[in-house]
């Protein structure tokens, strides 16, 4: 799975989770008993209320996911269709189920993914700087993108890349 696809999927899930939360909040406003925990003290009644809230959340997430799958129109076909994110294609009910995780959860996952991308970017920058420093020590010209500017510079970098460990063995092994 490409990193960009993963990032896009997380963004879609975050948006769907936020939409689902708003949907549950609206339903809770229309039916206050659904979100009023104090009035559902009995264990059995609260369990039923929780199930109802989760059902409402899943229904909202499913419709929202169908909107994504149907390019803005939650058709019946889209309800059982696929949500396409880059090279990924996930069933709409599965996306709805994931979106029920809540926006806070997906926000944290996105932050984690962004941190991983930052680490990878930092490592690439460090490698590029190290290569540039080595090239400068060797008197090799590098282009803007960090690649050797010409054939001779590329060959010069190749020759100085690894110190041989033996005078004779290196002659046999060096490529």
């Amino acid at each position: 799975m490409a990193v960009t696809d993963l990032g896009t999927l997380l963004a879609v899930l975050l948006v769907l989770a936020m939409a689902t939360e708003r949907w549950v909040a609206i339903v809770g406003t229309v039916f206050p008993r659904l979100v009023d925990e104090a009035r559902n003290e009995a264990r059995g009644a609260d369990r039923a209320r929780r199930l109802a809230v989760q059902g409402v959340a899943f229904a909202g997430a499913w419709i929202a996911a169908a909107c994504v799958a149907g390019r803005g129109v939650p058709t019946l076909a889209a309800l059982g269709g696929l949500v396409h994110v880059g090279a990924l294609a996930l069933p709409t009910p599965l996306v709805a189920l994931l979106a029920c995780g809540g926006s806070a959860f997906w926000s944290q996952v996105m932050q984690g993914a962004a941190a991983v991308k930052d680490i990878a970017r930092t490592r690439r920058c460090a490698e590029r700087l190290a290569l540039r420093a080595r090239a400068e020590r060797m008197g090799v010209t590098l282009a803007e993108d960090g690649a050797p500017a010409d054939r001779r510079s590329r060959l010069r970098l190749q020759l100085g890349a690894h110190a041989p460990d033996r005078l004779d063995a290196s002659a046999r092994r060096a490529g």
Partner: protein, 127 residues
């Protein structure tokens, strides 16, 4: 690959190595590595190109027992059908040639559009 042994004089002056491609217009890109002996690489002594064909190795006292590896590429400078080339490695002391050889490994042949890598290891002894 056999390692050549080059004998230099203690009083003959500084030692250097020269690498040229005899049948120009091919070019060379070469680095010279120094070793404690046959092992223990100490680093790059210098680099040789068509414009700078010679690298100083040091005074006789400092190069006695040291190994040197001439590692380089012959680079075709013009696009044309395979052309003959020959690389010659020369060890010079005080302006006088004390050793000359064509690297046995790809030191001579024909070159097409791709570069060819050659190597020549040698040990220096002071007589």
């Amino acid at each position: 690959m056999s390692i050549a042994e080059v004998t230099v004089s203690r009083t003959g002056g500084p030692v250097s190595v020269r690498v040229v491609e005899r049948r120009r217009p091919q070019g060379v890109v070469t680095v010279v590595w120094r070793f404690e002996g046959v092992s223990g690489c100490e680093g790059i002594v210098g680099e040789i190109s068509r414009e700078i064909p010679e690298v100083p190795l040091g005074a006789p006292g400092t190069v006695d027992g040291k190994g040197f590896l001439v590692d380089g590429f012959v680079v075709p400078l013009v696009d044309r059908p395979p052309a003959p080339y020959q690389v010659v490695v020369t060890v010079v002391q005080g302006g006088r040639e004390v050793h000359q050889a064509v690297p046995p490994e790809h030191g001579t042949g024909t070159i097409g559009p791709d570069e060819i890598r050659f190597r020549y290891p040698f040990l220096v002894r002071v007589a």
